[in-house]
């Protein structure tokens, strides 16, 4: 087949077909307005005119019950979902600190090449394999009921919050270690070569060259894990502790209204949505910087 350019005399058709033209150009704004109104309209219709709608709104979106569940009702002993949520918050903050420190430690061990650390490397690999495979709920059970069963003195007489934190930490460290490891590997090899050419020791290179860059790179996935952790704190309820979700469930089983559950959800969203938006912004910034440096 020849490589000559097209010598034909007739002009090719450059017009888009009519049905596509409806959605582009000057019609664009109109189309987006119609599309938004239609979608919102359908959702509103479903919410208000579905057959079970009144029941759902009474049962789950009832203002009076939402408020009562939030503040609790000391006289009847009804617990406050708001207070329960404080448990979720402090657990999340405390565990996150532990997770970051230990996660970095495990990642460090896994990327090391010193013969002295060989057995630890094997252990670390086995550990991350196991705890990324076992569902968090199972770990919570095993830790929360298993440790007390062993009768090991101090280890066995902690409150469920502590066991919950231990279970969360053990599981999340396995994931976070892998995130850090990926970050460490993402530092371009050329920089490691340059650093070694300066005669810097392995430890110094890790501390001054690799980790500062690796950590910056993995902040978005770490933020995702943090948001996930905030939600997983609810699992401590299976050990009997009263946090927001459990408080809402107790409220529901006492007054027969599920609005407390909606309150608990809103409390979680109040924390996770700002974090999600922030993470998205960071990702965008990072993306722009990387694409700029390539062009």
């Amino acid at each position: 087949m020849s490589l000559d350019t097209d010598e034909s005399s007739s002009t090719p058709n450059l017009f888009a077909p009519r049905y596509k033209r409806v959605f582009t150009g000057r019609n664009g704004l109109a189309v987006s307005i119609v599309s938004s109104v239609a979608l919102i309209g359908v959702l509103v219709a479903l919410f208000f005119w579905a057959p079970g709608s009144a029941t759902v709104r009474y049962y789950y979106f009832n203002g009076h019950y939402m408020w009562q569940s939030f503040v609790g009702h000391p006289k009847t002993g009804l617990l406050s979902v708001g207070k329960g949520f404080l448990t979720n918050i402090w657990m999340c903050l405390l565990c996150e600190v532990l997770i970051l420190i230990l996660g970095l430690g495990v990642a460090w061990i896994r990327v090391s090449r010193s013969p002295l650390l060989a057995p630890f490397r094997v252990l670390a690999t086995a550990y991350t394999d196991v705890f990324r495979g076992v569902p968090l709920l199972l770990v919570v059970f095993l830790v929360g009921f298993g440790l007390p069963a062993l009768g090991l003195g101090v280890l066995s007489s902690q409150s469920p919050d502590v066991y919950g934190c231990v279970a969360l930490t053990i599981t999340y460290v396995a994931y976070v270690a892998e995130v850090f490891r990926a970050g460490i590997y993402s530092v371009p090899n050329g920089q490691i070569l340059a650093a070694r050419s300066l005669g810097l020791t392995h430890g110094t290179i890790m501390r001054r060259v690799t980790l500062p860059q690796a950590v910056r790179t993995v902040i978005p996935p770490l933020l995702n894990d943090f948001i996930s952790l905030q939600k997983d704190t609810a699992l401590v309820s299976v050990l009997g502790a009263i946090e927001a979700v459990r408080a809402a469930q107790i409220y529901e089983s006492t007054v027969f209204n599920g609005s407390g559950l909606v309150v608990a959800s809103l409390l979680f969203l109040a924390i996770t949505i700002p974090l999600t938006r922030f993470t998205d912004r960071l990702l965008d910034q990072d993306r722009r910087r990387r694409l700029a440096s390539l062009s």
Partner: protein, 292 residues
């Protein structure tokens, strides 16, 4: 002649009175019998699945209510009662179908996928707003279960009871009893299932569980175990009755409850209910009563 007519009138009056009272009492038992007979036909239109009696219960279920976690074997108080009710309504054993319904879900509002649920569900006014209950088939009290030789077993004055750490299943009347009558100073641990509360008791994370007396009896003698698999629980005592009773649970407004109530009344009248209670639930009467 006048005397004769007087005597005859009295005789006739007396006879008719006797006849009326006789027929009315016959009619009474006949009316309950008729009611039952009517029920045998009307229930066909009220059943969840026509021709079958669909009964809901939890999984697992325990002695003395069921045996070996098999509701269909007719053993255990609630299993036997269900088949007795079915018998009264003319439903054969093979037409009784069991379905799974977790305890927490049973009393929430909304249509149910069974005719009735039998699972030691206590009547409360609040639950009755969401579902319909049959009349009582068992009057129940709450009791405390703790580990053998634990301090709870020995010291349980009302003041001492307040100091212990309790654990219980969410949504149960046992938990409500702790909140309403015991008022402990330490926050009660609330678990999703009773099994977890038992586990917590065994591992000494909690001091005591409050649970229906028959359940408590079984729990103390068979479920709570130490490391050597020996029974380690003790039913410390039962609390005074609060008027709590069990009822069968129906979807709100389900007309079938009418006939089921008729069946229960029949079983009460002919002594079957008392016999079943004696056979399966006799032990609890010997549990000492303590004050909350």
């Amino acid at each position: 002649m006048r005397t004769f007519r007087l005597v005859l009138a009295t005789l006739m009056g007396a006879t008719s009175l006797v006849a009326i009272s006789l027929t009315s009492s016959i009619a009474a038992s006949a009316s309950s019998a008729t009611a039952l007979a009517t029920c045998k036909t009307t229930i066909n239109n009220q059943e969840f699945t026509k021709g079958k009696l669909t009964v809901g219960t939890d999984n697992p279920v325990y002695t003395p209510w069921f045996v070996n976690n098999k509701p269909s074997n007719g053993k255990g108080f609630e299993s036997a009662l269900t088949y007795a009710i079915a018998g009264e309504l003319g439903v054969s054993k093979s037409n009784v179908v069991w379905v799974y319904e977790p305890f927490d879900n049973s009393y929430t509002p909304g249509p149910k996928k069974f005719d009735f649920d039998i699972n030691e569900i206590s009547y409360t006014a609040q639950r009755a707003e969401a579902v319909t209950f049959s009349e009582s088939y068992y009057d129940v009290t709450q009791s405390i279960v703790a580990l053998k030789g634990s301090v709870v077993a020995k010291e349980h004055t009302p003041a001492e009871l307040k100091t212990y750490l309790y654990g219980d299943q969410i949504g149960t009347t046992g938990l409500a009893y702790i909140y309403d009558h015991i008022h402990p100073t330490q926050q009660t641990r609330v678990y999703s299932t009773l099994d977890e509360a038992v586990l917590a008791l065994q591992t000494k994370q909690i001091n005591a569980i409050v649970v229906d007396t028959p359940d408590g009896q079984y729990m103390a003698t068979s479920e709570v175990e130490n490391a050597k698999k020996q029974a380690d629980g003790v039913q410390v005592g039962q609390f005074p009755s609060t008027g709590e009773h069990y009822g069968l649970l129906f979807t709100k407004g389900n007309p079938l409850v009418g006939c089921v109530n008729v069946a229960i009344s029949a079983l009460r009248a002919n002594g079957t209910l008392a016999a079943l209670t004696a056979k399966w639930l006799d032990i609890y009467t010997s549990v000492p009563v303590i004050k909350p």
